[in-house]
């Protein structure tokens, strides 16, 4: 597993589609897992207190509303506070203002509110990530945000070289 020298030069650049969709997939898995765990914890609590079993049905409207609310909290809070979700942190990307400044909390909340709009019309809003000059999706254009690479690629490259040097046999 290598860290190519070229990646160092992309620090601060607009993040591409693969990084962003992978980060979103991780977020979807993590947020769903946390939501399921929370429902399981509530069921267990109710069972302990009342003795009744609560079975959450996925098609239940209450569960669906709770899930949407949880998604909004998960993404909105993450973007407003740190500009990145768990998945984005894993992929080393971050949401910033259009000029590259730190994202204002207000913009983070707006981004989470308009995020579902990008799913409309078969996800056409996400097409901007591929074809827009600054890789901005519909929710980015509305919220005045952009996504950039923010991981320390230089340090990663040095760590990679250090490992190589450490593994190399002594002369």
């Amino acid at each position: 597993m290598t860290v190519q020298p070229a990646v160092v030069s992309y620090q601060g650049h607009y993040a591409g589609s693969v990084s962003r969709f992978t980060a979103y997939a991780i977020d979807l898995v993590v947020s769903s897992a946390v939501f399921s765990l929370a429902l399981a914890a509530i069921s267990y609590g109710v069972h302990i207190v009342t003795g009744h079993n609560v079975n959450w049905n996925r098609s239940n409207i209450v569960v669906a509303v709770l899930f949407v609310l949880w998604q909004f909290v998960y993404f909105g809070y993450s973007w407003a506070v740190s500009g990145r979700t768990f998945g984005m942190a894993a992929l080393g990307i971050r949401v910033v203002g259009t000029d590259g400044s730190v994202l204002e909390p207000r913009r983070g909340v707006v981004r989470a509110l308009v995020f579902p709009l990008s799913f409309l019309l078969f996800g056409l809003g996400f097409l901007g990530i591929l074809v827009q000059r600054e890789h901005r999706a519909l929710h980015d254009l509305i919220a005045g945000s952009a996504v950039i690479y923010s991981w320390d690629a230089r340090a990663a490259r040095l760590r990679f070289l250090a490992r190589q040097a450490d593994l190399a046999p002594p002369p």
């Binding site: 860290v3 650049h13 040097a165």
Partner: protein
């Protein structure tokens, strides 16, 4: 003529006339020196003409630099040097940017130090995943640019994160 050694002779053995002459001479010399304007005298001297007549090479050949340097207390000289203004003039960022960190890490024990002190398997895997994702991003982006037949280059980063443009 007054013999300077006469001063050393006991006063009893000195000729009274000579003693008077001695005193008069000393007084005259004192008056002359005090009346003399040394600055005026120095101004009249043509130093350039004087220096033209000096063969500096010959003078320098006669100087024994080793003996001279042996007498110099380097520690005392360094103690008097104010290093702060000197360091202020050094552009450390420029200096560091000239260092080939890749070569430094590969050729020195620095690599082993970094490898032992930073990250484990998790960090290594994360670095690799991020690096691969960036590579795939660029691959997809190149194809999209080609399909859209874009001629103008797209901005690589937000304006605040672009390196400062050099002044013309």
């Amino acid at each position: 003529m007054v013999n300077p050694r006469d001063r050393l002779r006991p006063a009893g053995r000195r000729n009274p006339v000579e003693a008077i002459a001695q005193q008069v001479t000393e007084r005259v010399v004192d008056l002359l020196v005090s009346a003399l304007d040394v600055n005026e005298l120095a101004a009249r001297i043509d130093l350039n003409a004087l220096l033209d007549r000096v063969d500096l090479n010959t003078v320098l050949k006669q100087v024994d630099l080793n003996t001279l340097l042996d007498q110099v207390d380097v520690n005392a000289v360094l103690a008097r040097v104010d290093l702060k203004p000197l360091l202020d003039r050094v552009d450390v960022n420029d200096l560091v940017s000239q260092i080939d960190m890749d070569a430094l890490v590969e050729r020195t024990d620095l690599g082993a130090v970094i490898a032992r002190s930073s990250g484990g398997m998790g960090t290594e895997a994360l670095d690799a995943v991020r690096s691969q994702a960036v590579g795939l991003d660029q691959f997809v982006d190149r194809w999209v640019q080609r399909l859209l037949r874009r001629k103008r280059p797209t901005p690589p980063a937000p304006s605040a994160l672009l390196p400062a443009q050099a002044e013309p």
